[in-house]
């Protein structure tokens, strides 16, 4: 099965238009009256400053987007870099920000439609504020419906709208400036008012991120992506500054402040009613297209959160017929309708949206620094912030975002604060035990490379046991790993966890469940017997807890374990988890070596003919180490085969597939520290790599394969190839990963820093 790559078909111009389409939106048609009221003509400076802050964010986002082109944008980067605590805050923050922005756009739409078009179309006039709210509600419902039912929209329509808007604004600026605007008192309310206004108008700058979410489709992303982002920020910034200049220079501040359709009222002065009508039509188009983009972006944030298990995946169901994430779209639509209906006020809506995005971008800047310092293997951005600008850009950007946040209206700060606190509570109550990802902050603080070493010199293998039938083999394999180290001090720790549901208290449940406790004791007694036979030091831990995954992780940390070995039934779960509710978090977060074993038929469990997949993956040598440990401890004859697959045809340097394979195996032997004569090698040449590996796997008793994906920056636990082999091969399959990829806690990192 080959998977067609998503064609990279967006050039600079297309990416730029996409960004511009969301940037030249509703804000500029609605905000001039609010901005002029707050800061007079000096609000030009506010727009300019907002543009600069966005420019810094665009530079940081360009690096992150080319490093991790994934749906969910800023949320995704922050969650990967700073972990689910901040992920939860930013996820909810962006979602709230987008719904507040949609409500803001829709009320702007109502204002331009009724009092605006009402000047020309009789029945639209005279409906007052109720009318505006109703129009906003109807349009919001309609847009939600359009996206729910997946009504086809085309790029061509989008381009027409963008071109129309650019044309209108350029005409407005051109004719307005020729008309000779006269600015009165430039800064009537003082600089603090100008600073506060940055927060108000920032909502006009939240669109450019859409380019980041298309990163995978952009041609030559190292050049085109940052350029398109920067251009999509600079162009509208200049336009906004111009619009404020013309507006405040044409109408008095009082008239402007009281206008619901400021751009049209200004246009009337020098373009007549035809010009005003054109502006109204433009504003209607702009508000609708901006709200449309916001609703769809919100659904993407939901999707990305669901994928990271920070949010219930139920929301992300794709509709069978419409092929839209209909629940996420409906939820966003409903909250937008509620926000419109309760009458928060158009200014407050805009400011809360700005607030949430400033929080987001502040954390995006932190994420860049953390990722650069932690430097996980999978992070290899095509565009890196040039060294003259790093780390100035993220630091300055962070400070600027925080400074604006502090300047904002207290009511807005309160609402924004509530949303942030909600994110925190959500993390504590829901996401903490479920989230797949982990923070890389520890990695960033720690000095230099941070391979986990055993401080006490005692090699410890943690083995969760739950099933008497598999217990013996798991312990035997763990003992093999322990024996490979100094066997005097190495030990195996067998753990069993009784899971108790959330509703019942731990003690209460246990008294009713004596049978379970008894079973736990039996399992662990049995483990001791096995350990005696195997001649390995064993300790047992009997634990009662809410969640087996976190209990195991706790044991790993308490014991300072070097290796955790788990059994797996061999079936991937469909939705909520990748490999299983306990396996996912343990493999995903354990700070030590982690091994997952699917047991095949007896007499071949880590024995007999062992195949090692010798590939280029970072963890393949770990799999080889496991294989040699098993082979050394096995009672019966074992053989080790290094298996490698190459595609037919000579490469650029003229090496034949066999030569390439041999070279790779040689390198592999060195990386894995194998000795000559210990192994055989086998190279196959084929078009169908995955199929050949699966076929070959069925000839061996045990297959050892290293993780192909890294836990820190992706969701798969081991990678799709190891998981497929595990699922489809009848023999024993050992999936292994080393400690490099797992992140350490901030506390560990600081300790390490202090020690060094």
């Amino acid at each position: 099965m080959t998977e067609q790559e998503l064609a990279r078909d967006l050039g600079f111009l297309e990416a730029y238009t996409i960004g511009l389409g969301t940037m030249i939106g509703a804000g500029i048609f609605v905000l001039p009256s609010i901005a002029a009221e707050q800061a007079g003509p000096a609000s030009m400076i506010s727009f300019f400053a907002g543009g600069l802050v966005s420019l810094l964010a665009a530079i940081s986002l360009s690096e992150l987007a080319t490093g991790m082109p994934k749906a969910g944008g800023s949320y995704y980067y922050v969650n990967r870099a700073l972990g689910p605590f901040f992920g939860s805050i930013v996820g909810w923050g962006m979602w709230a920000g987008l719904t507040f922005a949609s409500a803001f756009y829709m009320i702007g739409f109502g204002q331009y439609l009724l009092p605006g078009l009402g000047q020309y179309v009789g029945f639209l006039s005279g409906w007052g504020d109720i009318g505006i709210t109703v129009a906003a509600l109807v349009m919001a419902a309609l847009l939600t419906g359009v996206n729910y039912y997946g009504v086809k929209e085309t790029g061509a329509l989008q381009n027409v709208i963008v071109l129309t808007l650019v044309g209108l604004i350029v005409a407005f600026l051109g004719i307005g400036i020729i008309d000779g605007p006269t600015i009165g008192e430039f800064n009537p309310n003082g600089w603090p008012a100008v600073a506060a206004t940055i927060g108000t108008v920032y909502v006009t700058f939240i669109g450019f991120e859409v380019i980041a979410t298309s990163a995978e489709e952009i041609k030559n992303p190292s050049r085109n992506l940052p350029l398109a982002m920067i251009a999509a920020v600079v162009t509208p910034t200049l336009m906004y500054v111009g619009v404020m200049f013309v507006s405040t220079g044409t109408l008095s501040i009082e008239v402007l402040a009281n206008s619901q359709i400021p751009v049209a009222d200004v246009a009337t002065e020098f373009m007549g009613s035809i010009g005003a009508l054109a502006m109204i039509v433009g504003a209607v188009l702009a508000t609708v297209s901006s709200a449309n983009a916001s609703i769809l972006s919100a659904a993407r944030v939901n999707f990305a959160m669901g994928r990271d298990k920070i949010l219930i995946n139920w929301l992300n169901e794709v509709h069978d017929r419409f092929r839209t994430p209909y629940r996420a779209i409906a939820a966003t639509g409903i909250i937008t309708l509620v926000l419109i209906a309760i009458g928060v006020g158009i200014g407050t809506l805009a400011e809360v949206a700005s607030f949430m995005y400033l929080v987001t971008y502040a954390l995006v800047h932190v994420a860049v620094i953390v990722l650069r310092r932690a430097n996980p293997e999978a992070y290899d951005p095509a565009f890196r912030i040039p060294s003259v600008l790093y780390p100035i850009v993220p630091i300055l950007g962070f400070i600027a975002c925080i400074a604006i946040l502090l300047q904002m209206n207290i009511v807005v700060q309160a609402i924004g604060g509530v949303i942030v606190v909600f994110g925190v509570i959500w993390y504590l109550v829901y996401a903490r035990d479920r989230a797949l990802s982990q923070s890389l902050v520890g990695e960033a603080i720690a000095p230099g490379p941070t391979k986990v070493t055993d401080g006490q010199g005692r090699y410890r293998v943690v083995v969760p046991v739950a099933n008497p039938e598999t217990e013996r083999d798991l312990l035997r394999m763990a003992a093999a790993s322990a024996h490979a180290h100094d066997s005097e001090t190495a030990e195996v720790i067998a753990v069993n966890i009784i899971e108790v549901p959330q509703q019942t208290s731990l003690e209460q449940d246990l008294t009713f469940e004596e049978a379970r406790v008894e079973r736990q004791q039996e399992l662990l007694d049995f483990a001791r017997d096995i350990a005696d036979e195997l001649d390995v030091g064993l300790r047992t831990r009997a634990i009662v807890g809410r969640n087996a995954g976190s209990a195991i992780l706790d044991v790993i940390e308490e014991e300072d374990a070097d290796h955790v070995l788990l059994g797996w039934k061999g079936k991937r779960s469909r939705r909520e988890h990748v490999l299983g509710s306990t396996i996912d978090p343990v493999i995903g977060r354990a700070s030590c070596d982690a091994t997952l074993v699917k047991l095949g038929p007896e007499d071949g469990r880590g024995e007999g003919d062992i195949m090692i997949l010798a590939g280029e993956g970072p963890h393949a040598p770990v799999a080889a180490r496991r294989a040699t440990e098993f082979a050394e401890a096995a009672d019966q004859d074992t053989s080790l085969t290094l298996f490698n697959v190459q595609e037919p045809g000579d490469d650029d340097e003229g090496a034949s597939p066999l030569e390439r394979g041999e070279e790779l195996i040689e390198e592999f032997v060195e990386r894995a520290g194998l000795e000559a004569g210990q192994y055989e090698s086998r190279i196959e040449v084929t078009e169908d790599i995955d199929g050949t590996i699966l076929d070959a796997a069925s000839e061996y008793d045990t297959i050892c394969v290293g993780a192909t994906r890294t836990g820190a920056v992706s969701q798969a636990v081991f990678g799709s190839l190891p998981e497929t082999i595990g699922e489809q091969t009848d023999g024993t399959v050992v999936m292994a990963r080393g400690p490099e990829e797992s992140a350490m806690s901030i506390r560990q990192a600081i300790v390490r820093r202090l020690e060094s």
């Binding site: 080959t2 009504v151 839209t324």
Partner: protein, 139 residues
């Protein structure tokens, strides 16, 4: 006609129904089947669902398609394709893989829904230069 058919599918239910319908025909001639799901791109406008979400959904669809052929020795090949025009992408894919025919089952739906979301079946039938076979949906 059934030596190598292309089956475009849109949902797990659709995949199951179509694969069930096509199975006896394939078995009678020992044919192959390629199942594709087309991810519709808006070509510049924002897509309704993110591409990654659609890809995840496509894998769900393929699982359900393979499920029907689990106990059969006919190979099921799967592929995700991307395009702004679903019918056109299907026809292009059919040529790419030298398919002998394109096979689907009707999915019903009111005239309104088809008007709003596009009628892929109609475009397939009217635009294809390869045989297009509609099999009855027996569920």
């Amino acid at each position: 006609m059934f030596t190598h058919v292309l089956v475009p599918v849109a949902s797990p239910e659709d995949a199951e129904a179509t694969m069930r319908a096509v199975r006896p025909y394939l078995e009678s001639v020992g044919g192959n089947v390629t199942v594709i799901n087309v991810v519709e791109k808006a070509g510049g406008a924002p897509d309704k669902a993110s591409v990654e979400q659609r890809e995840e959904y496509a894998h769900e669809i393929f699982d359900s398609a393979r499920g029907v052929f689990e106990d059969s020795n006919i190979t099921v090949t799967t592929d995700i394709r991307y395009g702004t025009d679903v019918a056109e992408t299907i026809i292009e894919t059919a040529h790419d893989i030298d398919a002998s025919a394109i096979v689907f089952t009707p999915r019903g739906g009111s005239r309104w829904v088809r008007l709003l979301t596009g009628d892929v079946a109609l475009s397939l039938v009217s635009e294809s230069d390869l045989p297009v076979i509609t099999l009855p949906n027996n569920d």
